[in-house]
Amino acid sequence: MPTLIDRRGPSRRAVLGGIGAAGALMVSGAAVLNPREAWGLEVSALKPETMRTLIVMARDIYPHDRVPDRFYAIAVKPYEAAAAKDPATKTLIEDGVVTLDTLAKARHGTAYADLGWEDQRVAVLRQIEGGAFFEKVRSGLVVGLYNQEEVWPIFGYEGSSADKGGYIDRGFNDLAWL
């Protein structure tokens, strides 16, 4: 996890004390924190609330209950650097999140990321599906999430094989349940 701040150690207890009803992701200063998974992510180009929303949105687009938040955070983290480099990207993302929150508040009186049920959030996402902001985040996740080698074992995918001699002696035909 080189890209995220390791929050293990003394600060963890203090952070844990701050968990509210809003879920595992919280904003503290310029960082998004996940005390349960013991990491934090600092942002400067994007608002920390925006990064938090992107992480929630990433999970809502590609929900895998066995995949921890940190992998979703890694998948959307590049938008921080992209926003720092390109004002148009920054605007697209910040405005996209504002729209998302506006739509969520109109339906439920609550910001998108604070809606309690995935179904409620997904209904809001359906309203912006196909738009530039949604498509940027979704298409980025296809590689950003599923191409993380650390994620592969969760799905049972073993990755590179030639360096291990292929599967000729490692179960290419070990299926026995038929």
């Binding site: 590689v143 999430l145 599923y146 799905f155 049972g156 030639a162 490692r170 290419f172 070990d174 299926l175």
Partner: protein, 523 residues
């Protein structure tokens, strides 16, 4: 004189492209003592450099120069600038191919006669028959080491094949096997046997799979008659006042424009680049593009009727382990209009790694329907459908003059709409593939849309009469006697079979023809 050859050496045969067609043709000519220069747009990699990682390998090998798309095919919506998943490197798409090596069937050379008139389909009989091509198929199979030919045993079945075979047999299919594959099941031709690595599409790292990169080109180079120039992107074929080709203009690895003279030019850049090059070679004498008096250059673009079925079971399959495509059902390959369509299709095992499964299972899809399927990845089995699609004049490669490549030349636009026959065949294949998997306990089957095209065919098709196509039965253009087409763009129609074996057989046959004509001094 031996390779390397001088730019002004006008006695060489210049071949554009080093894949199954160009790499084989160049090697065979070199073995016959003919001097050859192959100009390859991509880099040269060694098999040790291939990468067991789908996206990294894609960045290493895939043709990602700008292209555009149009038409109603879903690829246009999901992958607007990636009409084809093919290779830009020495060896061309023979580096990426899965190895399935099937002969076309007799009637597939005579589709117009066999299928009759079909509205919207520009069907035409090939100017050659299966019987004429059989000796060349035999030669190609021996050369490529195709399993189940020449006494070579079949490959062992992997986990994905076990599920595939059990399901196929359960619903009554008879012709089920690990197929005819140009992948060594035992050591042969100085190459070892398959290690069941599972990254066939990413370039075989053990060398068990035939490719022109490892199995042909080094043999040609050893003769001193073959020079391969990588990173050499051909821009234009030139001709003299008599209409004979005189050479090609290309941009070399340092970005310098060069002119290679030639006695003969053979175009083998795949069915997108080959017509693009002919069209970009338009001149005062050939205002519609070189070899295009018929107006057929770029038309009749075929990509095979394809699709996939992935199915999730309640127990692990690990489909990605081992040879990607060693598994085939041939029962649906024949001609039987009772199914509601002409032509036939093959069902072949296929797997994707997790990253590509995410990209291709349901492009654009999201939410729990998508992710619950992905959650079943380890329990997934998969097959690919490959069938004959109908040639249509309006499915075509054209020059998109409003979009230029890095050299300032118009890029190729690939337009495609399914024919109603393609749709009927795909629906049938989806049902059969689903039935196979459900017969052995699939809890969920997913009809998956076609990927960016891997079998690009037909855009410079063979015809008996010059008005019906671009090249004759030897791949020689009707209009320019010393200009040849040597790749899958020659195909008059597509057949139901993976095209590489036919491309290689045609290249071997063409090499004999060219050598004969050269000695007769007719070209």
């Amino acid at each position: 004189m031996s390779a390397p050859f001088d730019l002004n050496d006008d006695s060489v045969v210049v071949i554009v492209g080093s894949g199954a067609g160009g790499g084989t043709l160049g090697t065979e000519l070199a073995l016959k003592g003919i001097k050859v220069v192959i100009l390859e747009a991509g880099q040269r990699h060694n098999m040790e450099d291939f990468i067991n990682n789908e996206w990294d390998s894609f960045a290493q090998l895939a043709w990602t120069d700008m292209r555009t798309t149009s038409g109603s095919w879903r690829v246009h919506k999901n992958f607007p600038n990636l009409p084809a998943w093919i290779v830009k490197a020495v060896g061309g798409s023979s580096v990426h191919w899965a190895g399935a090596s099937l002969r076309l069937q007799e009637h597939e050379f005579k589709t117009h006669s066999t299928y009759g008139g079909l509205e919207g389909a520009n069907l035409l009989d090939w100017p050659i028959t299966l019987k004429e091509l059989e000796p060349w198929y035999a030669k190609a199979e021996d050369r490529m080491g195709v399993t189940r030919t020449n006494g070579i045993p079949g490959l062992p079945g992997n986990n994905n094949f076990k599920v595939f075979e059990a399901g196929a047999k359960k619903i009554g299919y008879k012709e089920v096997s690990t197929g005819r594959m140009a992948i060594n099941s035992e050591p042969r031709a100085d190459r070892g046997s398959c290690q069941q690595i599972g990254f066939c599409f990413q370039g075989c790292k053990s060398g068990a799979k035939w490719s022109t990169l490892i199995a042909e080109i080094p043999r040609g180079e050893a003769t001193g008659n073959l020079e391969v120039r990588p990173q050499s992107m051909v821009q234009k074929i030139e001709h003299d006042a008599s209409g004979k080709a005189t050479g090609v203009v290309y941009v070399d690895k340092d970005g310098k424009t060069q002119r290679q003279k030639a006695r003969i030019v053979a175009v083998a850049g795949n069915s997108i680049e080959s017509p693009r090059l002919l069209l970009n070679s338009a001149s005062n004498m050939f205002p519609d593009g070189l070899a295009n008096s018929s107006g057929q250059v770029g038309r009749n673009y075929m990509r095979h009727m394809t699709g996939s079925v992935y199915a999730v079971f309640d127990k692990p399959v690990h489909m990605y382990r081992g040879t990607t495509m060693a598994g085939i059902v041939r029962d649906e390959a024949g001609f039987d209009t009772k199914r509601g369509f002409v032509g036939g299709y093959e069902l072949e095992t296929l797997s994707l790694g997790l990253p590509f499964m995410a990209a291709f299972l349901d492009p654009g899809g999201w939410g729990r329907s998508f992710t619950s399927a992905m959650d079943g990845y380890v329990n997934m089995a998969g097959l690919w459908i490959v069938g004959e699609d109908m040639p249509q004049e309006t499915n075509r490669v054209t020059l998109n003059t409003s979009v230029k490549d890095q050299y300032g030349l118009p890029v190729a636009d690939v337009h495609f709409d399914d024919h109603a026959n393609d749709v009927a065949m795909r629906d049938h294949a989806y049902r059969q593939g689903t039935a196979m998997y459900e017969a052995v306990g699939a809890v969920r089957a997913m009809p998956t849309p076609p990927y960016p095209s891997t079998h690009n065919l037909g855009t410079n098709r063979m015809s008996e009469k010059p008005r019906d196509g671009v090249v004759n039965k030897h791949g020689q253009t009707h209009d320019v006697p010393n200009l040849f087409v040597s790749d899958g763009s020659q195909f008059t129609t597509g057949g139901a079979e993976n095209p590489t074996l036919t491309i290689v057989a045609l290249a071997l046959r063409q090499a004999d023809f060219i050598a004969g004509e050269m000695s007769k001094k007719t070209i």
